[in-house]
Chain length 221, copies 2
DNA sequence: ATGTTATATGAGTAATTGCTCGCATTGACT
DNA sequence: AGTCAATGCGAGCAATTACTCATATAACAT
């Protein structure tokens, strides 16, 4: 990049006619396209404008700077995900632990299948977007829900440190599913991966405290 | 960045006198320093040279381009890790599954504590270094070892698809530990996290096949 | 001393790119 | 038809930065 002049930015003009709303949509679509097809390295504002078929000036009429474009993209993506999540939460409220976990894992899989490539680029390639406040906020919201779900079923759960358990569970599910998108697409589609992860999590949450040392009890039946 | 002229590069001059070997060391040290303290965004060849106290010309005498610097850093880092890994593998050959897993997890924790910040920046911020061939090769080597360890103890392991199990286990351990570096440093240091993860993995590998539906068996003892 | 090679220097070049700004066009409403 | 605001345009500025090259100095060999 050349001149990173603006770090934050003024609220730029808001589209009021249909024409400009269409322009904004086109720009976002082009931005996603460039990101997915060419990667973050090729993600320049000029290229996005060109791909969108609008002038660079128009782009800056609605997005104060490059980062704003990325943020808009990410917000849209997270919102799509969160919608399907909310829907699931309602269905899951009263389920027993195992089915809850299965549902949640399948939910995570579904999220990753929305726009897998965009998701991957946004979370892996785009720099300094990982530290975004609202993204952390989203994580905290998820973790709070998970914790609440655990507390409701506290008697079934053998783990002593709930906070730590929430951490382990959320990171595990996210990482395994995320990696599977590119490395095990078939298992992801077939549900084999979701089943495996569910087993992993349920086993962890409900297993007897580990035998402190020596021979393993579980294997010995 | 401005002119990404060279994509690959000639083998550059190799240091032959002590003086130049010292220069190369200083440059690498400065490179790590800049990466850790200022992040990848501020990682410019001119800045590295300045921090090292050598001229930009000298830097390019030994590193054909910017990426070569990063690759050298990464190789050094991975080598440090792999050294301690090899040492562990020998000790672990004959251990029972549970102790093996505990050892491996603790090993992973140790790896992440070598140069945690450098490790984080290299794996999270540096773009297009995640796709590097030799890094994939390293992953495959690790996975092969894990698979071999599983096969040796096949009778204790209840999972049917070994490949899938290797995938799930390796990604889980790596991700949980990696995230813990910045988010749960205390649990990482105390060993609480390693214990938890070990329990997670051993439980997964040795638990009875999941009850197809309905009440969970594990909780019911 | 003298020549040769390895090493160090840093001002400068060329490419890249985020972003501005003056002007043109469109559309809405008289 | 005329006015004004919303929208669109794109040449070009200014900052940034990977990398070169002509030149200088140090180490070594004879």
């Amino acid at each position: 990049m050349a001149p990173r002049r603006k770090l934050a930015a003024n609220p730029r003009k808001h589209p009021e006619q249909d024409r400009s709303r269409a322009t904004v949509g086109t720009i976002l679509q082009a931005a996603a396209h460039v990101l997915v097809k060419r990667g973050y390295e090729a993600f320049t504002t000029n290229r996005v404008a060109e791909k969108a078929g609008v002038s660079i000036g128009s782009l800056y009429q609605y997005f104060p700077n490059k980062d704003a474009l990325l943020v808009a993209l990410m917000k849209r993506h997270v919102m799509e995900i969160e919608n399907t999540v909310v829907e699931m939460v309602d269905r899951a409220a009263t389920l027993p632990l195992q089915e809850l976990v299965q549902l949640a894992v399948e939910q995570n899989v579904k999220s990753h299948l929305i726009e897998p490539e965009l998701h991957r680029v946004l979370s892996e390639e785009v720099p300094s977007l990982g530290n975004l406040d609202w993204k952390k906020a989203y994580s905290r919201r998820v973790e709070a829900r998970v914790r609440a779900a655990f507390e409701t079923r506290r008697s079934e759960i053998t783990v002593s440190d709930l906070d730590l358990a929430v951490f382990v569970v959320t990171r595990t599910v996210e990482a395994v599913v995320h990696n599977a998108v590119s490395e095990r697409p078939h298992d992801l589609q077939s549900g084999a991966l979701a089943a495996e992860v569910s087993r992993l999590i349920v086993g962890y949450l409900t297993s007897k405290p580990v035998p402190r040392k020596g021979v393993l009890r579980a294997a010995a039946e």
